[in-house]
């Protein structure tokens, strides 16, 4: 009788330890999602700011300026649920305006343009980077949260189910080309 009870106690203790360790893992993953999401926000904001600066600088023709300004403004002001669409539209606007190498050259030739073009090139490269890191963290957390042990014992608590950030982040070709970089 007593040995059986001891074994049950040991088993329960081991299970508790394992669950506690899993909860720790999950907690770390949620922290990683928060950090990568903050980094993604920062990169998106940076990209929109650079785009807006270029749009109002007078380097671009008026039509391109308006298209770019509209898209950048919309991306910055977007509500959370429209964010992905607004940011994708900014990507499209950037591709439309900076699709050709001569346009990028024109920006470079303007006073201070080399720095502005470089900033924009960095921003459009870092957005896909940050988004990949974020979605990678989301995938890892979702994989763990779907596991039986996490669902049955509600180890995730009240944390919302993590959602990936889906958008079109293809950079303009003329800015992404590294051959001349």
């Amino acid at each position: 009788m007593t040995p059986t009870l001891i074994w049950i106690a040991v088993a329960l203790f081991a299970i508790g330890l394992y669950l506690s360790w899993t909860a720790g893992r999950l907690d770390r993953l949620h922290a990683r999602i928060d950090a990568t999401r903050a980094a993604l926000d920062a990169q998106l904001l940076r990209r929109a700011s650079v785009a807006q600066e270029l749009a109002t600088s007078g380097v671009l023709d008026p039509a391109a300026s308006i298209v770019l300004y509209e898209a950048a403004h919309a991306a910055r002001q977007a509500e959370e649920e429209h964010r992905e669409v607004a940011e994708s539209e900014l990507s499209q606007a950037l591709r439309a305006v900076f699709g050709d190498a001569p346009q990028v050259e024109a920006v470079r030739e303007a006073p201070g343009g080399v720095a502005a073009a470089e900033e924009l090139a960095q921003a459009v490269r870092r957005v896909p980077m940050a988004r990949r890191f974020h979605n990678d963290a989301v995938r890892a957390a979702r994989a763990l949260r779907r596991h039986r042990k996490v669902r049955w014992f509600r180890l995730a608590g009240h944390a919302p189910f993590p959602l990936a950030f889906e958008m079109d982040d293809e950079p303009p070709e003329a800015l992404a080309d590294r051959a001349t970089g």
């Binding site: 770390r28 980094a39 490269r125 990949r132 890191f133 051959a179 001349t180």
Partner: protein, 394 residues
Amino acid sequence: MRIGIVCPYSWDVPGGVQFHIRDLAEHLIALGHEVSVLAPADDETPLPRYVVSAGRAVPVPYNGSVARLNFGFLSAARVRRWLHDGTFDVIHIHEPASPSLGLLTCWAAQGPIVATFHTSNPRSRAMIAAYPILQAALEKISARIAVSEYARRTLVEHLGGDAVVIPNGVDVDFFAGAEPRPEWGTPAAERDTGGTIGFIGRIDEPRKGLPVLMRALPSILRARPDARLLVAGRGDEEEAVAALPAGMRERVEFLGMVSDEDKARLLRSVDLYVAPNTGGESFGIILVEAMSAGAPVLGSDLDAFVQVLDRGAAGEIFANEDAEALAGAAVRLLGDPARRAELRERGSAHVRRFDWSTVGADILAVYETVTDGAASVATDDRPGLRQRFGLARS
């Protein structure tokens, strides 16, 4: 920025990953960052200032060959001390899935962790079996880098998730500026009947493809009797030429192990660089080095090579292990100076994206992305048993 880099393989053994880490560390230091590299090394090996030894690596059979790995209590303690003393803003682990320092560091650290996956061996059973063990450690990595699109695909298939592709770096100007050596080039009198072919790699490693090149050589020599093959690399030279007819053996010249300078000069001198590798390549740094030096490149159609050669635009491609195809392409290229000049030009423009100035900037961009709004790296002091049950005296 304070950057900690973890090298999984012995610092005293030359290898692609080690060279990559050495160049990366030196590039970052030149930019003014503080870099510390943790690497397995014998205690008596002289190490550069920025390398910290994690102790001697132990040779163990792993994944089909004998690998020198670090594990166990002592190594884990050294990792913890390095993390504690370093107070890094970010740590960059190479090959985190190999059971060595990388994995130990993943266990012991918390904070912004960047990892680079170099290998791309399809269907690595060890990796699939070890998945549940690896997963808990790999989850801590905030950003993954794959060295090629091919390596990224392997990573996604085996471990899930995603990675950004940042190629290995090469100091393009070092190769582009090397002085050609006349005795490694083709004399003017032999321009129409000869040509110099270069090969760099381990002679006795069939994966590097020298046997394929040796099978192709008789056909090449029939078409161009004055052609020569220069081979740089370690291995048994007599065994390598044993399959060749006796009269042709003198057309093969072995240079043995060459220094970095001589490698660059060799690549600057030859008329054609041939990379007949038959598999196991995830990147193909030697092709980038050859293109940097302005050598026209003829490579086998491995996924990684096709990508580095820009799908055939920056260098020619032949069917893997097909000696006749190799011979045909080599003869055609040696007899067509205009095409070679075109490849030289395209190659030199193409390799700019592999220069350390570009690659280093991309890697730094990754560091900055993961450190944005995150605390610095620390040892992972997860609550011990006593703390979990509220028994620890704090």
